[in-house]
Amino acid sequence: MTLPQQTTTSTDVGKLIGSVERFRNEGYRLVQIGCTKVGDLYEINYCFDKDYHFENLRITITGDTEVPSISGMYWNSFIYENEMHDLFGIQVRGMNIDFKGTLFRTAVKYPFSQPPVTVTKGDKP
């Protein structure tokens, strides 16, 4: 079986709260929030589901952009927002529970904001 194609809607940081509010009002649940470093930018995916219908909302930001928390609408978002702060260094404003960088304790600060490791043939992993 081929699984359904997934659509991603891009939005601006300034319109994030309004877009998330629409999902909340329509009864979607928050599946996850995940961050990806693409070049010098960061993509943040907000994934929602309702009756197995999957929607992905995406913002693309620079490393110094402050992102508003959506924990006012989705209380459980704090776990994902703290995670993207601790692993990527994304600043999130207004989280309901702010661990201030102690949710994931890593030896390297913000490890996923570091450049990708380049592997050449013959390198030991």
Binding site: L3, G34, T36, D86, F104, R105, P116
Partner: protein
């Protein structure tokens, strides 16, 4: 106003197989608030995607969890196959279902044993784990591994199960069902178990849904969401029964898992009956260029593998959202208002897998 005190719970605690720390804010013996902490065993699996070529990363994905490792591997493979438009042979899809459901049996039996241990029913704990051995034996016999199976690969599976073995497996399921029936009767009908679990750690359907509860944690509150209904693998050709309960307490979550044991054996029987002959893998060429959020139903709930490739042998991103991560916020809600003595049972009722969560 009653004086509030903070009691630390974990990260090491007899009831916790893995480290999670909770700061319990108490008024007398009642928990009024909870602050969770994880991060003790963060392993950086997702970062490893930069150092392993995408076919090799299956081995890393599998090691995310030592209980449902097969489902992690299969979910990763299905995500890559989706991006690359790979048509997996039908037999491989059915085999993935069979091993996935055996993983669920293994996980639920392991949890039921630990849960019995948490409320002091040691005899039941040992009985459940004895039955679990049958499941592990089957996994070992058909894959070579009891914990890490290593049978999923991009484009199919590495091993086949002969028709004779499948026939024997179906016969063995009758014995397994009989043993599980006896054990689950105790979980569902014993007065001491019911007394310990009823009305403990209750969460309403609305709270469970909006706080992101998934798997048996959500279904125990009546949230009828099961990712197998998405139809990945061969699930679209099988009759998947979604087990729910409405009370939302520890007993309900236990009852959902107990009943799901039998839906798993039913799915294995259905798959064994419908599995066609044919190859179990296809040759894969090229590299993934695109992205996909692959969702699957782990024993603990909905698993998401987000995969993004750029046409090279190394993925740009592998992000694993495990069910326990999603079940931590509902856990906070369950604990608010409970008695201190109930905390271990409530924490265990979400079947926390911290290794999965930390990745």
């Amino acid at each position: 106003m009653t004086k509030q005190i903070i009691v630390p719970f974990g990260p090491q605690h007899p009831v916790l197989p893995e480290p999670i720390h909770l700061d319990l804010v108490l008024e007398d013996e009642t928990v009024v608030d909870v602050i969770p902490s994880i991060g003790y065993i963060h392993r950086g699996f997702e970062k490893l995607v930069e150092k392993r070529e995408f076919p090799e990363y299956v081995y890393v994905a599998e090691r995310t969890c030592g209980i449902c490792s097969f489902i992690h591997g299969a979910t990763y493979c299905q995500g890559i196959e989706q991006i690359m438009n790979i048509e997996v042979p039908e037999r491989a899809q059915y085999l993935r279902v069979i091993w996935s459901e055996f993983s669920r049996l293994h996980s639920h039996l392991l949890w039921l044993g630990l849960f019995a241990d948490s409320f002091g029913f040691e005899n039941l704990f040992m009985g459940v784990w004895k039955t679990r051995e049958r499941v592990l034996d089957f996994m070992e016999e058909t894959t070579g591994g009891r914990v890490i199976q290593g049978t999923s690969k991009i484009g199919g599976v590495r091993r086949d199960i002969s028709s004779e073995r499948l026939d024997q497996m179906v016969k063995d399921l009758d014995v397994l069902d009989q043993e599980m029936k006896e054990l689950t009767t105790v979980f569902l009908h014993d007065d001491s178990v019911r007394h310990r679990l009823r009305n403990v750690g209750t969460i309403s359907r609305d709270d469970a849904y909006h706080l992101g509860a998934c798997g048996p944690t959500g279904r125990g509150s009546g949230v009828a969401v099961d990712a197998r209904k998405l139809g990945y693998g061969a699930y679209d050709r099988l009759n998947v029964q979604v087990v729910t309960d409405s009370c939302g307490d520890c007993y309900s979550r236990c009852a959902v898992r107990a009943k799901e044991l039998f839906t798993s054996t039913d799915l294995i029987r259905q798959a064994a009956k419908k599995i066609p002959e044919g190859p179990v893998d296809v040759k894969v060429t090229g590299a993934p260029d695109g992205e996909y959020f692959m969702r699957a139903e782990q024993p603990r709930g909905e698993l998401v593998h987000y995969l993004k490739g750029n046409g090279t042998r190394f993925l740009v991103r592998s992000r694993i959202r495990t069910p326990t991560l999603s079940n931590i916020p509902p856990l906070i809600k369950m604990l608010q208002g409970c008695e201190l003595a109930d905390v271990p049972v409530i924490v265990l009722s979400i079947d926390p897998c911290i290794s999965c969560t930390e990745r």
